[in-house]
Every structure is written in structure tokens, then in C-alpha cells.
């Protein structure tokens, strides 16, 4: 038997802010340059990867975040059981990578997804993030890649004051304890 271990298995509440880790949602990195790539993805997932910067597209199951002109992050809303589910990755790999339309890479455990909820989430971010959230705040679905206390993060604005933040696994414990330290002062 192999057991699943998340670097952080915790949720914390502070004034106007709740931070928690969402385990085992599938994450896939998509790369591709031409139309056919976009349409193929669209067919496969019935979501069109956004071609405009800093936004996302999605449905009740999946989200596709714009990371760059030829790069996207796909992630699921629901937890999945890895022991009998790699179908999505394999399907996409065959449909995209094998036929030279681009690349499909499983990054499920490359990123740890931390959820931030509450009126003060942007207060927390502003104590370590040079990004200007003034417009981002109010635009549902907005995406940004930036630095949080010198650590690379991807931030997805799911809903008003409800963010999903992605951080590389090896940095996650450090960032987590920094977030908790920051939250004390909000």
C-alpha cells in the first residue's frame, strides 16, 4: 500500500481570512502554439483555453488558467483518486503531444493548491506581493503569476475574496508558515 502525503494538511482561521490546502486535484500543464492546439483542447475538454492574458476559462469540473502565450494550467475542481484515474492526462497526451500539437505534462504534485477565503485575503497578499490587485480583486476568473514573499505563485480569482493559490511543493511549507505569520497581524 502507498499512502498519500500532503506537505500541509491543515486549515487556519484568522480575522477575515481562512487558508486551507486542497489535496489531490489534478493539475496538467498545457503548451501549444497554433490554432489546432486550441481547438483540439476545446474539443477534448469542451473548454477553450483563453488566448487573452491574465484570465481563465472553465466549467463546473475544470479550469484552464492562462500562463503565457503558449502555456496554460489545467486543474480540476474535484479531488480525484490517482490509484485509478490518469485517463485525462493520457487522453490529452495522445491527442496533443503524440500528434505534435504541443505538450501535455502532469504537474499534479509539482504544485500545491492553497485556498484563501475572506475579506482580508488581499490584505494578506499585500504584505508580500508587489502585484497590483486593485482591478484583479473585482474580476472573477482573473489569473496572475507573481511573487509572494519571493516565492513564485499562480493566483486564480475563483470568486470575490475566494482565491486558489498555486505554489511549488518544495516551497509550500515555507510559504504556508509565512502566510500564517503574516495573518497574525491582519
Amino acid at each position: 500500500m502507498l499512502n498519500y502525503n500532503s506537505p500541509i494538511m491543515d486549515a487556519k482561521n484568522y480575522s477575515g481570512i481562512k487558508i486551507s490546502v486542497t489535496e489531490s486535484v489534478i493539475k496538467i500543464n498545457l503548451r501549444g502554439k497554433n490554432r489546432d492546439f486550441i481547438t483540439k483542447i476545446g474539443k477534448e475538454l469542451s473548454i477553450i483555453p483563453p488566448t487573452d492574458p491574465n484570465i481563465s476559462s472553465g466549467n463546473e469540473k475544470l479550469n484552464i488558467l492562462w500562463l503565457g502565450p503558449d502555456e496554460w494550467l489545467l486543474y480540476s475542481n474535484d479531488k480525484i483518486d490517482f490509484k485509478n484515474n490518469n485517463s485525462l492526462e493520457d487522453r490529452l497526451f495522445d491527442q496533443i503531444s503524440k500528434v505534435k500539437l504541443g505538450s501535455v505534462t502532469n504537474v499534479t504534485d509539482h504544485w500545491v493548491m492553497i485556498n484563501l477565503k475572506g475579506d482580508n485575503v488581499f490584505e494578506l497578499l499585500s504584505s508580500g506581493c508587489p502585484f497590483n490587485f486593485n482591478d484583479f480583486k473585482n474580476s472573477k476568473g482573473a489569473v496572475t503569476q507573481t511573487l509572494l514573499n519571493h516565492i513564485d505563485v499562480i493566483i486564480h480569482n475563483k470568486n470575490i475574496n475566494d482565491l486558489n493559490l498555486f505554489v511549488r511543493r518544495s516551497f509550500s511549507i515555507h510559504l504556508w508558515s509565512w502566510m500564517n505569520d503574516s495573518a497574525r497581524f491582519i
Binding site: L2, N5, S97, K100, S170
Partner: protein, 1001 residues
Amino acid sequence: MSKNLRITNSKFIDQTSRISFKFDGKTLYGFKGDTLASALLANDIHLVGRSFKYHRPRGIMTCGSEEPNAIVQLGNDSSMTEPNTRATEIELYEGLEASSQNCWPSVNFDIGAINNFFSPFIPAAFYYKTFMWPASFWEKYEYFIRKSAGLGKSPTKPDKDIYDHKYLHCDVLIIGGGISGIIAAKTAAQNNLNTVLLDDKNNLGGTTLFQNNECFKINNTYSSEWLKKEIESLNSFKNLTIKTRTTLAAYHSYNYLLARENLTDHLSLIEKKDKIRQRLWKIRAKKVIIATGAMERPLIFNNNDRPGVILSSSIKKYIDYYGVKCGQKISLFTNNDTTYETAISLNKSGVTINSVIDIRDKSNSSIVKEAEKLGIKVHWKHTVVNTNGYKRISSIELMKLSDDGAGVVGNKSKEECDCLGISGGWTPRVHLFTQSGGKLKFRDKDNIFLPDKSESEQISIGSCNGDFELDDIIKNSNKSIKEFLNLNSSDYENLEINCSKETDKKNIWLLPSNKPLGKTKPFLDFQNDSTAKDVKLALREGFKSIEHVKRYTTTGMGTDQGKLSNMHALGIIAETAGVKMGELGTTTFRPPYTPLTFGTIVGRNVGEFFDITRRTPIHDWHVEKKAEFENVGQWKRAWYYPINNESMHEAVQREAKAARDSAGILDASTLGKIDIQGSDASEFLNRVYTNAWSKLEIGKCRYGLMLNEDGMVYDDGVTTRLDENHYIMTTTTGGASNVLSKLEDYLQTEWPELDVYLTSVTDNYATVSICGPNSKKILSRVIPDLDLSDKEFSHMSFKNALIDNIKCRVMRISFTGEHSYEINIQSSYGKSLWEKCFEAGKEFNITPYGTETMHLLRAEKGFIITGQDTDGTITPVDLQMDWIISKKKYDFIGKRSLYRSDTIREDRKQLVGLVTDDPKEVLEEGAQIVSEANKKPIEMVGHVTSSYFSPNLNKSIALAVLKNGKKLKGQKMFVPMKNKTINVTITDTVFLDKENKRLNA
């Protein structure tokens, strides 16, 4: 016995809440709202410190951040004490303890004051001219110079306070909450702009806040009354953020500004606890409005530095705001109208004013008439030629000015006083403007530097922009705000403003005396004790540039950064050198505007958060097993696993032996992993590695060496072909991120035509490496259904596998020379897999080993570590790895550099093995190698890069780079240590299993 100089009618001081504090050990009392300075003055204490060089008694001179003299040591706790704080800025709190600086044994009796008597012999920069003989004595001279220099004392224990950072993005940032700043803030806020208003004081309003003078009215009320209403009206705006006790420290390009907010410095010791002390705001503003006001100038005359000599407008603030009389018999000395406001305020409060000494011939302004109406005596066209009193001014001597103002005429008269207010006019605070790169222009009318043009989106308004009259301030501020924010109208169009206007101006930078200059002490920089004489000396000696004069005389280099002294220094230089001040220019104002606490700049990035810590998915297991860790870049890697208090050596010897005798297990998760896909993947690898890749079969692995464009070894690792157009590359732990960005760089800029995609998957996989003769048996228990036969799964090949239905990639590769496997599994199952392997290996005594043992094992086998055996000056040829350089390939990164005249030299330093004559003797890594034992001077021919005691060979082994080493195999060399010379023999780099039997065992 100190008397109480407090009057009762101040609205800003809460005289019901008494605060006790200590100054120089003496318990005193003040009130909520006091600064340390106002509280001391209320207790009739003027003498608060000693000057830097001559240790002359000095008193409080101002009421703000420009204070040069009243610099005190705050607190006496060794971790919380703070040197060089300005008494004029410290808000009084219960339990405050402060003491005088730079004096011994006490501020009242200071041995150092002897310097004052030597002052004739120690003019500016005297130290460049002496202390040179005998040469060896400089150290001793310097010891005393250092002891007498310095002001306060550094803490000696770590700071207990917390500091913080916050980023802030706004449409309009307004710096300064005086009358023009408030007009700006309200106007911006009314127009729905995201607005921020900063002020360094604890409340808004500036000097207008306590301006209750008949001569200054807006809509027929005191300007103070009018402003209070405006301030109250600000509370209604949600889009306006007001931060008081917040000082703008630095104004950088692209409207990036740093401001320090003081959160607890004004609180009592109990209230401070566990709160953030100061916060640094990192502000990015679309537009910036500077409304920082102006500073009053002193006057430069003989002995103008005595305790009791105070800027006239500060005397006004002390009486009108703090309700404190700076003296009981006050004389005022001025060249402008504002002093008469002070006179009137003092007169209202019943303080005796001896007289106003005014260097001007006359003035017809309403404020002057008002003062004369009140019976205040004015000595027109007079100057003060000297002051008396040592620890407190006791009298002044005045004389009539000659018509040209260059000299004095008539008889000297004396005036008893316990305080002298001085005013030399006003200097706009243009510091922030210049910090932002703005250029200044000079206005002759009143000798001030003003903001001229600026690159960034900003304006200056109010008196920092040269508007000194109330009506100009309001009208011009309003006008420029509207233009700047593109508005048609504002609330401040048709105000009815009455104010006194200054009619007559006169300025003399260095006031004449009846004594020759050489016999006087007209101070310019009160903290650094530089006088007008010093400036003239510098000019005489040929130091023409302002920067030269400043550095030679140290004028303006004190903790006040010359806020008071700069203008007069410039004036005197211009006069003496006979140039226009406009042409002379100013010295540069460097950030920060006022000194900024290190802790504030660093914020919470201390201790745990000093730098990022990266951990592998298996980290906790290593911790449980009491592993020692090594820092590798930002990673924590298990270094070795001591059991029942083994030394490092013992642990490593045990681990290394076990790995070859039976089985070892290593956490290799930190290695960089890059997923490579695309139809040109193979061609890409051909270009970035020195060897050829096109022919690598699917399912096979290959070692690759990556060079810099200059031909030097950059990184290495094993890359595996997973599929036709799919590879996984591994890089060194330290090199991972640099390699990825380097490769991205080539793809995006040099080879955009290649269809290749790189994705970092370093963190996605945990890598468990099992090596040793029993590794195969162990793996077969972990993955029973995987065929591990050499035929099916040979060295340097890979297999996909499922463990408990979790996908993983198994590579049969080896960095130890042993038969070994690397299992890559998604990180979430890494720790579990590791434990599973450990369980499966128990009966074979599988031994976890760390980076140190890994180093040892690979060294036995002669494998290099880039960054340890290479140092950026080593080519593959130098490593004797010619085999890895494809002769067929037309080009690869760094190829051309390998054929430069120096890189093809035969006698370059080359990688070799070393064994010591005494097999027990382990060489020191970094030790140098020479060819002859006792020759001097010795030419160093190489150095030891890696060295260990090999438990498997039972002897010491080492790798080294050695000049011409290739050809010297078998020869003797010498390693000269501090106290002995070690004999070594040059060998092949492979010490163990040259035939690679073990790999396939």
C-alpha cells in the same frame, strides 16, 4: 530646581494625563501630546547633548526632523536601546528613558570639552595633515579618534521588536498633511481617485493648525479654525487613506516610494508589547503630490550654537501647540516677517520679549505693524555679534549693520536673555523632489532652490514649491492640483483670504562681527561642528566643488544630513568664490529623508524567513531519523544519518560501506527535472549537450554534459528518452533553475524554429535511489511484476511501472558505480514509497545515506561533481572526458570556445586522481599541489577538489585538477600544508571497479 514653564491654554496637550519619564536618570513629568523636547523645555532643560567634535554644550534647536543637537539615546535595555533619536520627534510615553550622548562622565561635566580649547589646532580635516609619524602609531591614534567619535551606542543584544512590510498601489499619493496637502487630498478624493495622504506627525494640519493670528484669516475665521473643518470633512471619503506618524523615506524612479509608519514608538512600554513596531510601505503611485512644506533657516553669527538658541518658528510651536515657554526673557533675531508671528504669540502668552533684532532696514507688513502696536521693541538694521553663557545663553551682544551689510558700526550693546529665537528665512523641503530625479532652479528674490522640471508624474505644492504667503499657497496649490488631476473646478476657488505679505527682504549668509572671522565661532553644521571658517579654509586650500567642501569639512554629513546647514554653506561658498548660487548647484540629497531603521527595511524577513527553505517529500523521514542536514542552494538535504552518537566520519564510513556491501538508499528528489516534448526534442538536446542524442533509443538513458558558451563545464545529468518526442532531463540540484532559464533563453531567442516545450517537473516527483548488490532483490519486492533481468532492463535504461496502481518511472542508472535504480513517483507518494523500499530492504540491511556518502561513493568511481571538481574554468577535455564531445556534431553550446588558442593548450589543468603515500592521510579539499617539495617561491600546479577516506578501498583517495596532469600519471607530487608536506602520487580518476563489473552485478 527646575521651574514649570507650561502655560495652561494649549488645546493639543492633555494636561489632565501626566506622564512620567527619565532624562539622564532624573525623573520628570510631561503630558500626553508632548514630545521629549517639549517636555524637557517645560522643565526648563535646554542642555541635552554635546557636539561631535568640540563637545560644546548644545540644546534643543528645532521642533522637528531637522534637529541637529537634541540627539539622545533612548532606553537603556541592551536589546531595545536606540541611539541618535531626535528629542523633537519622540512622542512622550509612560516609562520613557533617555540620556545625553557623546559626553563623559555627564552632559554637565564632559571631559571631551577639552577639545574646545584645542579647537584652534584642529580645524576642518586636520586629521589628513597629521597622525602620520611614526607610521606604526596610526593604529593607536585611530583608537582614540574612534573612541571620541560616534554619537550614541549600538544595542548589544538582538532586537525583540517586529517589523513589517506592505505594498500599496494608489492613483494619487500626497506627502504632507499641511494646508496644501489637505486641499490636495480632499480634491483628489472628491473626484473618486484612490488617494493616500501621509504625514509624519501624529495629526494633520501642519503649522496652520495652531495659527491663531488676526493677520491670517480665511473666510473671516482664523486659518486654524478653517483648516480644522476641512480636516474633519476628510473622514467622509472611503477612497481616501490617511496615514499619520508616517514618514516618506525614499522617492525612487517610476513613482516607487518607501514610507515608514510608526505604530508603537509613542505607546507606553506595556502597550508596545507584541505589536508591529514599524511598517515599511512600498508604494507605487500613478501620481504624486509633494506638499512637504519648508524649513526655517538659522542665522550664522559668532557663538550661534549655545543652548537656548532656538529657531524662532519652533519657539512659536512650543508656545502655541505645546503650551511651553522656551524662556522667560526671550530675544528674537531675524531677517524676515515670520518671527513677528512668534513675537505676537509670545506676547499673547505673557512672555517677556526683550526685543526683535532685524537685519532689515524696515518692514511695512501688517504683521510687523501689529507687533509694534503691541509694544514689541525692534532693532532695525542690527545684528547679533556674539552670545554669552556656557550651558545656557545668558546674554547677546548686538551692533548696527553698515549700509552694505558687510560690517558693523557704532557701539556694542548687551541684552540679557535666557533664550534667543533666530530666523534666517525659509528653505523649501525639496529633498523628495530631487530624490526622484527632479532638477532644481534657484530664485534670487529669497535665495531658495525650487523644483524645476521632473520626469515623473508628480507636482510640488505649497511652501515646498516656494509659496510662503497664505493666499499664494491656497491659490497656487489649487491651480496646480486641478491641472495635475485634469479637473475644471474644486472647493477652493473663491475663498476670502486675508494675510500679511512680506514687503522687505534681506539676506546675509555670514553675519559680520566686530571680531576678525578667525577669532569667532559662527557654526554652520551644529552637529558636526563645522563653522564658516572651515568652509573658507576648504576653499582656500582649493576645494572648489560643493561636494569637496562638504566632504572636507563634513558639513551636512551629520544625522540631520545638513537640513539646517546646507543653504548657508552654499551661500558662503558662492560668496567667497564669487559665483552665482544658481550656477553653483546643490549637493545631492540622498535617501532616506530621515534615518530609517534597518529592522524596518528588512521587515519580517528575519530568522526563519531570512531565506526560503525547500524540503523534499521525504524530508520528515530524515528528520525522524535524526539526520544532519546540508544546505544546497535553498534545499535542505540529508547530509548523513548518525546513529547512537556517531561522528560524521563514522557515520559516513558506515553508510558508504553498506551501500557497496549490500544496499543503500538515497533521497535524490532535489535533482532538477525538466520534461521535454516536441518534434525537435532530439535536435534540441544535440545543441545543448556536448554529445549526440538522435540515436538514443526510446527507453534508454544517457549522461550529458552541458557547457557555457565559453566552453566551460556548466551542468550535467542523465536524460532519458521516454518516447519518440518525449524526454526527461535531470540537472544538478543547484543548477536546476538556471539550466531551465538558460534553455528557455536559447529556445525563445536563438532557436525559435525548434518545436520544443520545456516544463519543470522538479517538484512533481520524489526520487528514491537504491544502490548496491542487493538493490535488484529489493526492487523486485517493491515492484514484483517488473522484469529486472539485465536483458529486459539493462544499465542506462528505463521502465514505466505501477506501484500499488500509482504510475512511476524506474531508471536503472548509477552515480555510485553500484548496480542501482532510481524510482520517480509523484511526490505525494514519495515518503510512502521510501518507507516501502526501506521495509523491503530491511533484511539486506538497506542503509539510508546522505549527500556526504554520495560524494564519497561517486569519488571512488571517479565521477565528477560540477561546481566542486569544476569551477567555471574547466573544459570537458580538462576533465579527460573527450569521449563525451561529439566529433560529428556541427555545433553545440560552447563548442567553438573549445578551440581557442588557450583552450586547446595541452598543459591546462586537468582532472586526475591522487593517492597519498600514507593511505591513512586524508588530503584537505582545496589544498594546493606543487611539483617540488622545498623550492621557493613555489609554483602551484593544481589543487585538490575532492578528498575522502574510502572505506571500500581502505585508503585515502582524492580528485584534483593539475597542470598537464594527463601526462603525469604515476608521478610524485607534494601537498604543502601549514606545518607539513604530504607526498602524493598521481593516478587515474577511477579508483574502484574500472571494469564496471559492479554496475551489472
